[in-house]
Symmetry: C2
Subunit: 469 residues, 2 copies
Amino acid sequence: MLFHQNTYVDRRARLRTLVGNGLIVLIGNNDSPFNYPSNTYKFRQDSSFLYFCGQHRDGLALAIDCESGVETLIGNDIDIDDIIWTGPVPSMHDMAAESGIGQTAPMSELARLIQTAKVAGRKVHFLPPYRHDTMIQLMDLTGIHPSQQREAASMELIKAVIALRNIKTEEEIAELERAALIGYEMHTAAMRLAVRPGMTEAYIGGVLDGIAASHGSHVSFQSIVSMHGEVLHGYPSPKVLESGRLLLVDAGAETREHYCSDHTRTTPISGRYTSRQRDIYDIVVDAHDLALRHAKPGVRYMDVHLAVCRLITERLKALGLMKGDTDEAVAAGAHALFLPHGLGHAMGMDVHDMEGLGQSNVGYDEETQPSAQFGLASLRFGRRLEVGHVVTDEPGIYFIPDLIDLWRSKGTNKEFLNFDLIETYKDFGGIRIEDDLLITADGCRFIGEKRIPYHAQDVEAFLQENAEA
Amino acid sequence: MLFHQNTYVDRRARLRTLVGNGLIVLIGNNDSPFNYPSNTYKFRQDSSFLYFCGQHRDGLALAIDCESGVETLIGNDIDIDDIIWTGPVPSMHDMAAESGIGQTAPMSELARLIQTAKVAGRKVHFLPPYRHDTMIQLMDLTGIHPSQQREAASMELIKAVIALRNIKTEEEIAELERAALIGYEMHTAAMRLAVRPGMTEAYIGGVLDGIAASHGSHVSFQSIVSMHGEVLHGYPSPKVLESGRLLLVDAGAETREHYCSDHTRTTPISGRYTSRQRDIYDIVVDAHDLALRHAKPGVRYMDVHLAVCRLITERLKALGLMKGDTDEAVAAGAHALFLPHGLGHAMGMDVHDMEGLGQSNVGYDEETQPSAQFGLASLRFGRRLEVGHVVTDEPGIYFIPDLIDLWRSKGTNKEFLNFDLIETYKDFGGIRIEDDLLITADGCRFIGEKRIPYHAQDVEAFLQENAEA
């Protein structure tokens, strides 16, 4: 377990208080089949399950009786046939004792526990499942079809889990720092490789996978490594890197205890930004730095996002790509042609932290509601910031040929966009710069003691030093 | 697509002939959630789907009407919102045309196609699903609960797919050679790192992940990297390698087109085998080489396995670890204390090729039936070999403390086992050597032009050269 037993005991006690009554059931993850039943992807425990009990084994569930306070770790012990294949593992009893959980039960007991609670008219609280095996398990336990389970999940439990997990403690921040250190190794390796002749996107993607697994457990999401930065999720292709283009790398790691990092850098493959690239790049840098100055407790992250949109609009006007009144352009969402996504998202044990519990539950509240406008609708975190929030700061500017064609053909926001000039940027690609912000008492700071260079002159200096080495 | 269109057209025509009548439905894979719905593991297409149509996208299905010969590629085109995130992708029509498939239909049509076939009293053939999302999809399409689907799958379709995929063609062997080349890079990197002070199992595991992803698509299964070779699936731990121990590495790669390699090497961390290690190591080498001499068309692989078991028993008798009559010991399964698994399995587009279709359907037939005896029961391939079969050759000798204790306490096979001496080997670990055999007209050969060293003197020479470098 990552933390002392008391941490988990305390988290469960607070969860029980927040939920109030009924039976809480947290289902851990199972192995996920790759290409046949017994060939599985690398195991990843469910983050909420891990947060409340700290155990990494597959095939577990945790039941918490809110009224009686009885906690039960549910799962089956392994036998000699398993030991031959997997080696000795801790018993159910040992795991429960380690986590400070009072009792254990075999998996076959879970149905009876749920049935007993239901018969007594008590609510059974479960989180929305995202693994399809969990959906089948839940269907068999509750009779609810997978397509209805998200709706049937407990909003009290969802809100209680989010209330706890959204505020990162000091011991969690220390683990996020470890994740950032792996991220530093990944991104500086990618930058060094980007300027080496003959490299492919796929080769660099593999190196990132390797560093994340060597030093942590896994990448925190499938790395984006692409000369087509304008494709927001551009997975690495076997294409050889071309001098003169930009390479966008958006990648992060999970520590062995599943805390994440998430960074993006956009590197000139030739080692230097062209002046056209530099014009756009510097706007993104300034947008990125603006968020660092604006984000602090009490400020809505949606307002930081909108300040970034105004900065980008102003600066694209100066380049002649946009026109008209800045506030009106941003209100109309015209800038979203270039920035169709949000400034950031919560980050923690999930790289989009708790996204499976519903993005609007994590990043919005009664005061701040999600927007339906194209671009702003993709802002995953808009609420007022609090001390202990961790959010990404990831502005970008993209030239997406299909989107440009669509807007131009429909005349979308044509009063704010100089489509003739924009047309000449269709071969540009896209730029994004991303770091992870911790909200502190007096503002915010980037997570990561070692900083991956991002100011243009620092990037170029780094590439030159490493090309010479 | 990896091969020419004709390859896929021909495979489907042969499949239709083998199945004879009814509607064949092959369901492709979808993205598999990692820690929330939209954060997914790296996509892996289903091997049979890929074998018959060559398309790599998620969300597809293929319907083949055996009587009319009509083939339909089923799936949905993507829209502008998807293009922003994933970039432009080929249309359904373009994919179908590329694969030589006559028509396309949206996914919503699949239910109607199946319903129409059923109403007409025709059989709907599907393969046993292994992904749980596919199980839910099949449940909604057919009304069959996931727990019953394996039984409800079409044995005609299973047998037809196996008949085709079990025999590798020249163009497939060329792709397996490419996978073996990645395996060579992986294993020689692991060997070099194993003798470098301060390395951890996890670090080496990450390097293997990286090489597989850089040069192919992915490891073909989760790499086994362990000083505890006696744990058959010992995943890498953060433990630092200890001089004097052996490091067992069982790892393979998939090419971008999903053909696999699978190799095992057992390396002395000090650079040299101790004499106790060498005694055991040389037995495994000789067992490995015996399979290379015995495997050929017409020979049952179960007989090769049993010849290996006799060799191991003879040699362990010479070391004083076993005793009694060799044939009787092997008939009793006494050697399985040291070798509790089989000599090999089919390998191809799945590292245990087609294991999801039922191991006994792939590796056994009416003539050769699986055994229920401990050890022999784990032999995944026992049938007579044919030209074009690819099977692994992976003998091993392990000292598994829990198994030794269990057998000793129950007196299992005590007439063939010198438990007092065996007891002193409980700290030994385990050794396995594995390569992939292609059955040829006049015998067999290893796949892989570049050979990863495995004879003790070659391993030690390799380690010495690379330590000096």
